[in-house]
């Protein structure tokens, strides 16, 4: 998940890991708005 988010936001894992944990909630929320099959394939 970390690598995928880094690719998405264009940053290094070290930078992403220092982001506010609130980001995890938004990622989960965004995943809920997508079809289950799409999420399952990630």
């Amino acid at each position: 998940m970390i690598v995928r988010l880094c690719e998405r936001f264009g940053c290094l894992p070290s930078a992403l890991l220092e982001e506010d944990a609130e980001l995890l909630r938004w990622v989960r929320l965004e995943a809920l708005t997508r079809p289950a099959e799409e999420v399952a394939h990630e």
């Binding site: 998940m1 982001e19 506010d20 995890l24 909630r25 989960r28 929320l29 809920l32 999420v39």
Partner: protein
Amino acid sequence: MGFVNDRTYKLVFADPEFAGLEVRARSISIRKMLEIAKFDRNDLDEGQVELLLATFAKALVSWNLEEPEGEPVPATLDGLYAQDIGFVMQIIFAWMEAVAAVPTPLREKLSGGKQFPEVSLPMETLSPSPPS
């Protein structure tokens, strides 16, 4: 003057056992959250409990917790250690949910009441560095 992110979460508990309790705490980094979120909540060892308490103590801003005699309990690591561990753990888990989890009513609304596969947070094993 620089910007300081001092946004806090106000935790209010639905459980009647916690009626009236208000806790304010800050968020933490993804690194710290992933570190404590991987613990098995039903099988915590001493080191994990200490890390949870220390992590939460740094994020804890204030609460209205009082001793039975009416003395305010300090919102510090010492204050946490002075409380019942089960009580403190429930507060810590509620804080973790508030920061990083999608609220249950919203989750159910978005999934239309159907069970969506849980979005897991796997820790990926990094490949070893090549020898220099």
